[in-house]
Symmetry: C2
Subunit: 201 residues, 2 copies
């Protein structure tokens, strides 16, 4: 993601728009994770995604404006630009959170607040005995089967941000997931190898 | 929530802060639901929550500033105010989305984008034969067991926004839930009565 000149942007308005919404939501999750675990690399990823989202937003605006042919169409297209701005505002808020991580002045209360919210973030260590090992995220469908959305994976010294459905889980991976406390605890039991059967089996 | 003078605000900084984060997240979910289903009542709820969040934010700021005793503490407390502002920015973006619903100028593309994002919103109609009927949200723990977070329930002519864990499900309730498409489809099968056993049984 270093070379923004060469970054690939989806070709049509709809796909750009979907990519914007998904990216902003990932940014919020990653920003809270970065704050919680004081992970600077993750905070930097959020700031890179913020730049990517600006590019998407610009591309969306140009294409949307081009599509307006009359007054009525122009009015409805304005709603697209407005929603894109809301998404962009959310991503900026995530960016501001990420900057706090890089500045290293976090009050301990912030950690508590993230941990005690309805939806929280957790670290899940995958034991070599776990049924998760060797399966792809698509096969596991953890969002449906455990209520946890995986937002990043730590493998040895590197990060995989926003892993896709083909990503396979390795022994000793550390999964960063978002969900309720109960959902995260449930996935932890599976990851430890204490629960041997996935609910979809 | 009409009488803001009498609104109850949690007493300490931490609880206010947690309430702010939960409220902002609910607002985003409700705002997307309002946009998707063109539900003005839901949009108005988002705007009321935006006012509530402003009150929370003010109360947090006063209490946080009072707590600072020296330079170092003041710096760390600033991070609390900064995170509160990020949360407030997110809630403002949700408010802007809600206003679009009230203005009735939504482009059809917006619906498609919400439906096709990684996390989407669905309406789930509860058949009288479903195993969901008569159980509380706590007993069901749908977030863990199906990956769907219930953000509102339509019961006859009235809305229950942000139902709590004691809320019981009635026959013919319409649940508004957030999750992946697979998760929402799974819950729909349970709600239709086609799946008779909850995964936690």
């Amino acid at each position: 993601m270093e070379e923004w000149d060469e970054v690939e942007v989806p070709k049509n308005v709809k796909d750009i728009f979907i990519e914007m919404k998904n990216t902003a939501e990932l940014m919020v999750d990653l920003a809270y994770s970065a704050v919680l675990f004081k992970e600077k690399e993750m905070a930097e990823e959020v700031l890179e995604l913020e730049e990517y989202l600006d590019i998407l937003n610009y591309n969306l605006a140009v294409r949307a404006v081009l599509a307006a042919r009359n007054m009525k169409e122009a009015e409805r297209i304005t709603s697209i630009l407005q929603m894109a701005r809301s998404i962009d505002d959310i991503s900026d808020a995530a960016g501001d959170l990420a900057k706090m991580v890089l500045e290293e002045k976090l009050h301990p209360l912030i950690t508590e607040v993230i941990l005690e919210s309805e939806e929280t973030i957790g670290k899940i260590v995958v034991s070599p005995e776990s049924v998760l090992v060797g399966k792809t995220l698509e096969e596991l469908d953890l969002a449906t089967n455990t209520g946890v959305r995986i937002i990043a994976i730590r493998r040895g010294k590197r990060w995989i941000f926003d892993p896709d459905e083909d990503t396979k889980i390795f022994p000793n991976d550390i999964l960063i997931g978002r969900g309720t406390r109960t959902a995260l605890d449930y996935l932890k039991e599976i990851a430890r190898g204490n629960i041997k059967v996935m609910p979809n089996e």
